[in-house]
Subunit: 134 residues, 4 copies
């Protein structure tokens, strides 16, 4: 599976008084990146929650900030699945300024699948072809 790109525009609400994007919002952008990554694999993360009753819970986050993103800029979130098995998934991200192209931040998130009772679970087999990385 190649890297997947999704674009977004920085919201006023995402800035802070430093005049740049508040750092916690990059984690929200990573979430958008992985949801769109899953969508590009042919199905919705939402269906996993509502139809299959499994949740993708974040167990680890890391982000390195190189240049600040600013209000109204167009930002590209480049997402790839780094590792996966039926119990866990790891995504890597690059957050880039669209034009001119420039790396703003890079990060990763690690997840486990949980069932509705918030207990560790497994990704159902029918999704393995789509979501398990060779």
């Amino acid at each position: 599976m190649p890297k997947h790109e999704t674009r977004l525009r920085v919201r006023y609400a995402e800035t802070d008084q430093m005049g740049v994007v508040y750092h916690a919002n990059y984690l929200v952008w990573m979430e958008i990146g992985r949801v769109e990554y899953v969508r590009s694999c042919g199905f919705n993360y939402k269906d996993l929650e509502t139809l299959e009753g499994i949740l993708l819970s974040v167990v680890d986050v890391q982000c390195r900030y190189l240049y600040p993103a600013r209000y109204d800029e167009e930002v590209v979130v480049r997402t790839e699945m780094v590792r996966s098995n039926p119990r866990m998934v790891e995504f890597g991200y690059e957050i880039r300024h669209a034009e001119p192209d420039r790396l703003l931040a890079s990060g990763s998130t690690r997840h486990i699948w949980l069932n509705r009772n918030m207990r560790p679970s497994r990704l159902p087999e029918k999704y393995h072809d789509f979501l398990l990385r060779a």
Copy 2:
């Protein structure tokens, strides 16, 4: 029931690049105000959700902004129940700078009770003494 006051300190995350608190965050502060109002009546809003299966859903919000709140300032949220019956509740709020005392914003929220299926519901009778305004 007299007005209830709760205090909070402005978070960096709540500011925007204008150098003041982003306006949508006042709604979050109102929510803190009404939760603490309910707590001051002798029980938890959380229990209403988990034990009684009823939710207090917002149907209307209004806020007027007079002076901006700034990072690290202490803010007082003064909450009162303006109207209530078993089907709806209306709260009024004043958001004030703590010292010197100054009105920053005033607003109101109107709510209906919903059950777990998101259908209009009624506040159980045992709470009427606490939460229904004479």
Copy 3:
């Protein structure tokens, strides 16, 4: 100036434990609506801040909630300028579910122009043709 429409997809971060979008986020969507409205008039709100040193400060917000928006749904923000003069602007909004089309919420915001010292100011004349409603 006709109504302007902009689309967005509900983020996971925008939901709360009620399983629907947290009500304060509708104000963020209104902000996106008016920024895109201004862009459709031929210039950037960002430039007003950085080049002209004037800010569009919110003085009043009102929102009525009819149906909840949910995670991953596509939402349309329909924005129109209701009133304006060189000192103030008022916007009206409809927030609709994209498909099937359904009104989720309606609201309005009133703004005044401030200069960099957060004092009331006037919209520079060269923008009047674009941003003042006949």
Copy 4:
């Protein structure tokens, strides 16, 4: 300098539809932790920004999530300064459920000092005694 503890109560706005706190909000709590840490050293981070014109910019964040925090729970943020020199600071955090005591998450943030032009800068010498770790 010993560890510093600050308490907060989980806001409804901080939950997501999983029924627990949205993971990005732990970064906001870490920010509260380090601001209160600085305050416990005898001065305000706010003054550093407004009087000295220096900003504490985040360059790296890491967080590991063990147990979810839930609405209305009291949470303790335990903050310590792990490393520091006139150009950078590193904080470590434990985010704990208050009662019963339980570790919910642990993390760290690394920061550099920036001047008003967003260029790397140095912490003024008069603060070294307070903010530089032996």
